[in-house]
């Protein structure tokens, strides 16, 4: 079954690379939540994340003929999402378009597994909010490194900072997250 899905995905990708809009729309349908979730976690704003997701797929469509398949399609889309999110985030900051009241708590509509709920739903919810409340620069590092498993070097390159700076930001962000999670319990 998994092989069949992989085969279908490959076929869709090939058709999309040959200009088949229908095939690309199917790929968008498959990857839309993944792309939108990453943008939302990076930007912390629902409207902006929706714009970023849309722009990501348009950029992907333009660049698709150049996609050689060295990495998985989702990994490639993640990179485009991150770059697009930075562009839109910077633009929004310049135009003061981000309304603080519009900032949506990340993961409000998510459905954690029953095991996770049983284990510590309150802690999970608090963590999602704590990630949202982090300063932009710190949130970016935590999302890419600790949630999406990027290396320090990849994070540094994406943010155009040194590896040392990325590590320092991560250190501060983790410390802040830990403090906000366990503040009331200590």
């Amino acid at each position: 079954m998994a092989d069949r899905n992989v085969e279908e995905g490959r076929e869709l990708l090939e058709r999309a690379q040959n200009g088949d809009e229908g095939a690309f729309s199917e790929l968008v349908r498959i990857h839309q939540s993944e792309v939108f979730t990453l943008a939302l976690r990076l930007l912390g704003n629902y409207e902006l994340a929706a714009d970023a997701a849309q722009e990501t797929f348009i950029r992907a469509w333009r660049a698709l003929p150049k996609f050689r398949g060295d990495a998985a399609l989702s990994t490639w889309l993640h990179r485009i999402t991150v770059n697009t999110s930075w562009t839109l985030g910077r633009r929004a900051q310049r135009h003061n378009a981000v309304d603080i009241d519009e900032v949506a708590p990340i993961g409000d509509d998510t459905q954690p597994s029953p095991e996770a709920v049983a284990e510590n739903a309150e802690l999970q919810a608090r963590l999602r909010n704590a990630v949202t409340d982090l300063p932009d620069a710190h949130r970016a590092v935590v999302v890419l490194k600790d949630i999406y498993g990027w290396s320090h070097a990849e994070v540094a390159e994406s943010l155009d900072i040194s590896v040392t700076a990325a590590k320092v930001r991560l250190h501060r962000a983790r410390k802040r997250l830990k403090e906000s999670l366990w503040r009331e319990m200590v």
Binding site: G19, E21, R29, Q32, Q54, I147
Partner: protein
Amino acid sequence: MRAACLPNRIRLTSDPSFNSGHVSECLRCQAEAAKYRTLLRYLMEIRSQLVPAPAGLVEVVGRGLSRVTDVPKKSRVREVAFAASGVVAMAGAVTLWRRRVSA
């Protein structure tokens, strides 16, 4: 926090599995390490918790694609126009050359 804890706490923030002689004996540092391990585990779990994309995203992207595919069509029209103007110029040059030859 004791002075001996400080350098270990800094290491534990970066690497919760870090285990020095001090950490293996200090319950406070072990508790700190446990908190960071829990934090990292929850952060990793967040990845699988997808937020549904806004309704209609596929359609909006689809409309956007049509605009993108217009670009090559426009450039093809430009190419045809450029080629046509080249042909006209050539024809003009040939006509002028013939007039000169006949004169």
